[in-house]
């Protein structure tokens, strides 16, 4: 009897809680939503009871049965476009929008193979609309297509470092070695300054590494970024000159200048890894971070990772955080060079005949992930368990980041579902700047580097995106887009035996590409 009473009491209590909850929350019917993205963990069941604490909670909150499809990075666009063209895509998909996929995007929109968002979507989901307005790509596409088909996901929203947006790539340097050879540890170095430091490191070997020492360590792609992109803003594309005519950046004098610096570092000063062209799968990173045999590298520096990198470095080499220094790279002219990274990565799109309930549910989910409360959750987990707001509304962590790994691989991380899969429209970079799980001084340094990239540039060296070029899908331009600049230039470096020969190879190459470059220029200047 007593039991029965307590059971009834408990039931009533539960009912009360549900009623109270429903007072503030919408009551959702169950919907099944299919989704494609390379970040979906293949074979992982996100749904309760099989998912993790976070996925079970958020999918429960929105009452979604989530069916994710993983595509591998290499096959991403091929598979997605195959499914789109076959009119058999998932309800929601992430389209890898870029200069190279823009033509296909325009084609599928024109063929009516994607869902056109209702015209009032911005009023109904104001949070998403505001993030969308800061992605540059979104509003531009909307104007071009006369409606919204893509919702680009913003890299930054609350913490946008600048417009144009800087890339995070930066110098990784051994501070202890720089000091040992009598050079200054600072926030920015020009390319010749770095080569000079590497020369001293090579001569003095301050770390006693011996024969394995790699003063300047980077793979072909990173070397091209280091010597060419950092020196010549348009090294691998077209640009408008002072007269408003399009020119080919590979033929610009700064590109040749960068190429000569590359040659100097490789064959004259011999500071660059003699077999840099064999490095792949982040071997340059490994040599710096895991083995501690490299002096300077040019690698990623996302705020989210600045501590992770140093942690691995400390664990593997025994050196403290302080010996691992990150800095900006400037061209020989002393300015920071880059083209707008554009504040988005990957765009959300829907299948043309998506069920309105599915569409609305996903929009609601996205709306929640850009709210003040939802946005920390997408990278920090459950509020009240992993993080919370203090009395000032600041985010505080409730876990020990040294002990608990929140996101990551299945079997290792607390929440493998964390990431950009479950609705995020603001990516990780943003919260990383406020994330208390990352050491504050490192975050501050990272923010400073972002700021300096803008400060140490001019509008000519750090430029905004040229949408006319970006969206240009002419066949002439597509043919030029196939040139792999980094490999082509690197080939000149390994082939040449003197600077003179390098210049000859360069001129011959420029000449040989005219067959496809000139038609593209003509098309652009028409």
């Amino acid at each position: 009897m007593k039991r029965l009473v307590s059971l009834i009491l408990a039931l009533m209590l539960a009912l009360g809680v549900v009623c109270a909850a429903s007072a503030e929350e919408k009551q959702y019917d169950r919907v099944t939503i299919t989704y494609t993205c390379p970040q979906v963990v293949a074979g992982y069941d996100y749904n309760a009871p099989n998912g993790d604490g976070y996925s079970n909670w958020i999918l429960g909150k929105f009452n979604i049965d989530f069916q994710g499809t993983n595509v591998s990075w290499n096959d991403w666009m091929n598979n997605l476009v195959t499914w789109i063209y076959a009119q058999d895509m998932t309800d929601v998909a992430i389209y890898n929008f870029s200069e190279n996929t823009a033509t296909t995007a325009t084609d599928i929109v024109n063929q009516g193979l994607l869902f056109r968002l209702p015209d009032d979507w911005k009023e109904r989901w104001p949070g998403v609309a505001d993030v969308y307005s800061k992605t540059s790509l979104g509003p531009m596409l909307e104007e071009l297509y006369g409606g919204t088909y893509f919702i680009p996901r913003a890299r930054f929203y609350y913490n946008l470092p600048g417009d144009p947006l800087a890339n995070h790539w930066c110098l990784w340097m051994r501070a202890d070695w720089i000091k040992a050879v009598g050079k200054e540890v600072k926030h920015s170095y020009t390319i010749p300054e770095v080569i000079e430091i590497c020369k001293l490191i090579k001569e003095q070997d301050p770390g006693q590494v011996g024969a394995n020492l790699l003063p300047l360590e980077m793979d072909t792609g990173n070397a091209a970024s280091f010597f060419l992109r950092a020196n010549s803003t348009y090294w691998d594309t077209f640009y408008k000159d002072a007269d408003g005519k399009y020119q080919w950046g590979a033929a610009a004098p700064e590109t040749l200048e960068g190429l000569k610096l590359w040659y100097q570092a490789y064959k004259v000063d011999e500071v660059l890894d003699p077999e840099y062209y064999l490095l792949d799968h982040e071997k340059d990173l490994e040599n710096f971070q895991t083995l501690g045999i490299a002096g300077v590298s040019y690698l990623g520096g996302q705020t989210a990772d600045v501590e992770n990198y140093r942690k691995t470095f400390r664990d593997r080499t025994g050196h403290e955080y302080e010996d691992f220094h990150m800095a900006n790279l400037l061209g020989a002219d002393g300015y920071y060079h880059q083209r707008d990274l554009i504040n988005f990565w990957g765009a959300v799109c829907f299948k043309p005949d998506v069920d309105p309930a599915v569409f609305e549910r996903w929009m609601d989910l996205m709306e929640w992930t850009c709210s003040k409360e939802g946005y920390p959750a997408t990278s920090m987990g459950l509020k009240g368990e992993d993080w919370d707001f203090d009395e000032n509304g600041e985010i505080i962590s409730l876990i020990d980041p040294q002990e608990v790994q929140l996101a990551g691989a299945v079997g290792e991380a607390k929440y493998p579902s964390l990431g950009h899969v479950l609705g995020s429209v603001i990516l990780w970079d943003d919260l990383a700047m406020d994330n208390p799980n990352i050491r504050e001084d490192l975050r501050d340094e990272s923010k400073l580097l972002y700021k300096l990239r803008t400060d140490e540039s001019t509008p000519e060296t750090f430029t905004k995106v040229d949408w006319n070029l970006y969206m240009n899908g002419s066949e002439e331009l597509l043919a030029v887009n196939g040139i792999q600049y980094a490999d082509e230039f690197s080939n000149m470096i390994t082939t040449a035996t003197s600077e003179e020969e390098l210049v000859n190879l360069y001129n011959e190459w420029i000449e040989s590409k005219q067959a496809i470059v000139q038609p593209a220029l003509d098309a652009l200047n028409k």
Binding site: N100, T495, I516
Partner: protein
């Protein structure tokens, strides 16, 4: 055609009856091949018509066969790039080299393994030779960097024993093809040898016994019995390899090449990869290249088959 119509009609009818009889006689054979043929029609022939995309602009809502024709536009785009033709030459050079330097090895392996007298060791050896087949080219390439790199095993031995300065085996265009052939033999010869070994197993044992009695030497036995016994297999595989001269080996080239060997490594596959890898998805372009490649391969196959027949071998095409 000069015969009078009545006569033609009669022979036609005769021919038809005759045909009907022949078909009836072979009815069991038709039933036997039916499942295979049905599979080919559905899963190979229907999709083949997708190649018509090379001449069409694909419109999803109109379907594969309703999409509008655009003529040779896709081909014009393919042929406009001089790098396309260079890549064809590169492909043919590498694959012709394979015919000479790689193709004979599985045969040699099979013959040698077959000559081993100790039953157990023979099986063990043969198993070992098949191992590398299970390594992906990514792995083989990273092993090669450790073996052939400037700090690798071979350079270590060369400089240790002879004081030779490190050689960039993987970074010089002139070493690229030899490295491709050597690694190809290393990885695939043991596996491919299985086909020849199966073929050897089918040779009539009495022939060997007779040779034994006649006192034939080992080389004579190989030359007069084993080799003729597997000649058909060799020829068939050779003709197929010729018919494959324009394709193949992408994984290998992709993983073994680097920016230093760019000019000798850009095969047709690599070219297509380069043009499409940044994510521009263009089925018309891919279909045009695929169609072009298939036609060349077919011509090569036919030539190889005729030549094989002309020199007295048996052809593939009957």
């Amino acid at each position: 055609m000069t015969g009078n119509p009545v006569k033609t009609k009669r022979t036609f009818r005769e021919w038809l009856t005759h045909l009907g009889k022949r078909i009836y006689l072979e009815k069991e054979r038709y039933i036997l091949i039916l499942p295979g043929i049905v599979w080919y029609i559905i899963f190979a022939y229907i999709p083949i018509f997708g190649l018509s995309l090379a001449f069409r602009k694909y419109m999803a809502k109109l379907g594969m066969f309703g999409s509008p024709w655009i003529g040779l536009k896709n081909f014009q785009r393919v042929f406009a790039d001089p790098a396309f033709f260079t890549s064809i030459i590169t492909t043919l050079r590498i694959n012709a080299g394979r015919l000479i330097f790689v193709f004979p090895f599985p045969i040699l392996f099979a013959l040698l393994i077959n000559e081993v007298r100790l039953g157990r060791s023979k099986k063990v050896l043969q198993s070992i030779y098949t191992f590398p087949n299970f390594l992906s080219w990514v792995i083989v390439a990273s092993i090669m960097i450790n073996v052939l790199g400037q700090r690798g095993l071979v350079n270590g031995i060369l400089s240790g024993a002879f004081g030779i300065k490190p050689i960039a085996f993987l970074g010089k265009p002139e070493y690229f093809r030899p490295v491709v052939f050597a690694t190809d033999v290393w990885k695939t010869a043991g596996w491919s040898a299985i086909i020849y070994m199966a073929s050897i197993s089918g040779i009539d044992v009495e022939q060997y016994e007779a040779a034994e009695i006649d006192g034939a030497s080992r080389l004579q036995r190989i030359w007069y019995i084993t080799l003729p016994g597997i000649k058909t297999t060799i020829l068939v595989l050779f003709i197929l390899a010729v018919g494959n001269l324009m394709s193949g080996g992408f994984d290998q080239i992709f993983n073994l090449s680097n920016s230093a060997t760019l000019k000798v490594a850009e095969t047709l596959d690599m070219y297509i990869y380069r043009i499409t890898f940044k994510g521009s998805v263009d089925f018309g372009f891919s279909s045009a290249v695929a169609l072009f490649r298939s036609v060349i391969n077919m011509l090569l196959l036919i030539v190889a088959d005729r030549v094989s027949k002309a020199v007295g071998g048996s052809g593939l095409l009957g």
